[in-house]
């Protein structure tokens, strides 16, 4: 937990974000701010609307109402690839790698928006430098998540935990400013979860990121996050530093359960 001295500038502003599915309001009038460089946790019971909120933020699901702005630019209403171009990138709770492609290719593909080569420059081989850059960066990212010795293997063959790591590498390849991680530790054992904490911090520092993370593993959240928001039945019931959130009776009742 890094004690925050001066509040850093707000990069993400969510205002009254709401999403209904038929009669169900999965995300209900949610507003919050995320500051630059912070690691912002999102917790809450199953079905509280956390993943849905991520979907609203990344353009995969259009909100019923409400807005999200990133550094003053409106994000809601944009198609997912436009959101990615703005600098928001994510991983998926139900891992969505390009399963039949190699790990290396997965990471190369994600550099799409940061490269330019069109059909003809690609075909005529005019983009060699760019290709070389893509290649190098892909290897670097695989190194980072420790998968470079399996770069040529199909992503679908990786075990659950390794797939999660590869997804993070892929998300980083889009050169995001904000990284959204949906249950990155699911499927990792306790030791690995510990490593994940330092890994996420390292990534944040190295790439100068703002990170939002959904996670059910409480020790990890408490350890990792600068601030934590709690969703319950689609509504935000608490936001604050980990310690105070953990003590909040509403959170204990809805989520943590009494000891």
């Amino acid at each position: 937990m890094t004690a925050q001295t001066a509040p850093r500038p707000v990069v993400l502003e969510a205002r009254h974000m709401t999403r209904r599915f038929g009669g169900l309001t999965a995300v209900n009038d949610v507003s919050f701010d995320v500051h630059e460089g912070e690691i912002f946790g999102l917790i809450g019971p199953n079905g509280a609307g956390k993943t849905t909120l991520f979907n609203l933020m990344t353009g995969l699901t259009p909100p019923s109402s409400g807005t999200l702005t990133y550094q003053g630019q409106q994000v809601t209403g944009l198609a997912p690839h436009r959101v990615a171009t703005l600098g928001l990138s994510r991983t998926f709770q139900n891992i969505r790698l390009f399963r039949e492609l190699t790990a290396l290719e997965n990471v190369k593909i994600a550099q799409h928006i940061r490269t330019r080569a069109g059909l003809w420059s690609g075909v005529l081989g005019l983009a060699r430098d760019e290709e070389a850059r893509v290649e190098r960066k892909a290897w670097e990212l695989l190194d980072l998540v420790g998968l470079s010795d399996r770069a040529g293997e199909g992503a679908g063959n990786f075990s659950y935990g390794d797939q999660r790591k590869l997804e993070i590498a892929r998300a980083l390849a889009t050169e995001p400013r904000v990284l959204l991680l949906d249950e990155p530790a699911a499927g990792m054992n306790t030791a690995e979860k510990g490593q994940l904490t330092s890994f996420i911090r390292e990534v944040r520092d190295r790439f100068d990121l703002t990170v939002m993370v959904i996670e059910h593993h409480v020790p990890l959240v408490m350890n990792l996050c600068d601030r934590v928001a709690v969703l319950n039945f689609g509504q935000l019931i608490a936001v604050g530093d980990p310690a105070s959130v953990q003590r909040d009776p509403k959170v204990i009742e809805a989520y943590l359960g009494g000891e």
Binding site: N46, A48, N189, T190, A191
Partner: protein, 234 residues
Amino acid sequence: MLEIERLSVNYGAIQAVRDLSLHVDEGEIVTLIGANGAGKTTTLRAVSRMLRPVAGSLRFGGRDITRIPADEAVKIGIAQSPEGRQVLARQSVQDNLELGAYTRNDGAGVRQDIERMYGRFPRLGERRSQLAGTLSGGEQQMLAIARALMSRPKLLLLDEPSLGLAPIIVREIFDIIRELNEQGTTILLVEQNAKLAMQASHRTYVLEAGQLTFSGPSAELINDERVLHAYLGG
């Protein structure tokens, strides 16, 4: 009840499990732990007959089940809550549960059991007619576990049941595991939350790169230096 002898399973050229032998006695809870890619899921899938081993044998209740089809395994009392949940996305929650009881012929009992599941997982009760594919990750996990219970198995295979569940529900799951076991169900459990699993189980096997490294009573292993270091984040 379950005896695995010198089991080897390959994916193409990749050897996922090598020469693995273990056994689960009737009435036991046995935990299988190991790092990512150690072969835990592969082992469970071999037992539920979703994968064909290249070598070794499987016996269940004295019967050789190495070659029976997967649906037959369910009929003789093996149920699995699989990795990745595998709920039937286009069927309702209720239909998923009913299909979980496909091998049973007691309509009334099935209905009763379904109500019981809704009691344990109120979330599912609220969502009974929702398509399973639109459930949240954790809700699907609950459904996968509940569905496996619906066949009233003799041997229950749970692959990372706590995955994606809120702490409050994780506790509920382990309560259920204990209860079921008290009622006589044998359980083979794969868990990443090794501590929790070992606390709940009688014995533990540790897998590494497709091979067995340690095994023993959970209570002993939980204090073992090496296990502590590698899997419990100690």
